[in-house]
Amino acid sequence: MSGQEQKPLPGRRVFLAGGAAAALGVLLAPGIRLIEVAAATGGQPGTRASAKVRWGLLIDTTQCSSDCTACVDACQTENHISGTAPTDSQWLRKVELKDMRSGRSASVPVMCQHCAKPACVDVCPTGASFKRADGIVLVDRHACIGCRYCMMACPYKARSFVHAPVDDQNPEVPRGKGCVEGCTLCVHRVDKGQQPACVESCPNQAMLFGDLNDPESAISQRLRTIATTQVRADLGLDPGVRYHGI
């Protein structure tokens, strides 16, 4: 390092630059600021998660066969979860339900239910577990200390702890040892306007992804026409994942 170019810490400069940026943030039109215009030209659809949207899933278990693991495989491929070691993360699993009296059985994919009032967020001591404006519940690994309190709080067993170092991450899905993680609803795909990997992979179209807040969305229309349930609705967490046929 050459000594001549070093400047003192840029306290005042940064402050002045911040002031200039704030001045640029003046209102152009109601609700539109210059800074937001700049951010919106980043080239991605849906630049920010919007509170007007609530992402959810509708899973039709009558279309889900017990010997199919397409959604689980797609989840593991997308998020680079090896699924080989017994302690490996499990973002999505298939659960077999059987009514002992009648013998009727159903195969149910279970993942993070993306609750409106998530217990994992309530108990997190560092604020790492959080809910995005559009209802997707995530873990901020930068703040997660791996205490696993959220794993105990979640009634759906949706979260996993990463026990071993990870070295083959999807660049868009950072994962690492010492943090708790769970289904992200493929947030990196959703932000690009795509569907979650599990939904896309289902050969029977048993999973439907969409905006629960929009009455015209396909998922809302389907919810109006068929009987659906939330798992453990009695807990009052208001899951964003709904099931038909259980």
Binding site: A39, T77, H142, P171, E172
Partner: protein, 131 residues
């Protein structure tokens, strides 16, 4: 153990080579960082002097915006750094002490934590993610 020895050997060899061609500065015992940029990368998001001093703050600021507010396609992004600065042979910004992030952090003696979780390799980016 074998791999560690191999790494140590190659590091010594590299240091020796650097010294032989006069690459290392006379005043430094630590090899100068190797700064590699992809040939077709264009210009960085900010001038080098600013990047050297402020890249950590830029990344930290943006990571919260991206993760918590879902802001995508911003100017600053870790994947953006990696795509331009990954080494030609390894395709990575870390690994053997000659790569962009790791060499400079070794020179400055600052621990590099990003790649405990983030993928240090370029190119796999969206295609790899989308299958």
């Amino acid at each position: 153990m074998v791999s560690f020895a191999a790494i140590a050997r190659s590091a010594l060899l590299a240091a020796g080579l650097a010294a032989a061609v006069g690459f290392a500065q006379a005043d430094g015992r630590v090899p100068r960082p190797s700064v590699s940029v992809a040939p077709d990368a264009g210009s960085c998001v900010a001038p080098p002097a600013e990047m050297r001093r402020n890249h950590m703050d830029m990344l930290k600021h943006q990571r919260d915006k991206t993760l918590r507010e879902g802001e995508r396609g911003a100017k600053v992004s870790l994947n953006g750094c990696i795509n331009c600065h990954a080494g030609k042979e390894t395709g990575s910004v870390t690994g053997n002490g000659q790569q962009f992030c790791e060499s400079c952090h070794a020179y400055a003696a600052v621990k590099l934590d990003c790649f405990e979780c983030h993928q240090p390799k370029a190119a796999k980016t969206s295609q790899g993610g989308q299958r």
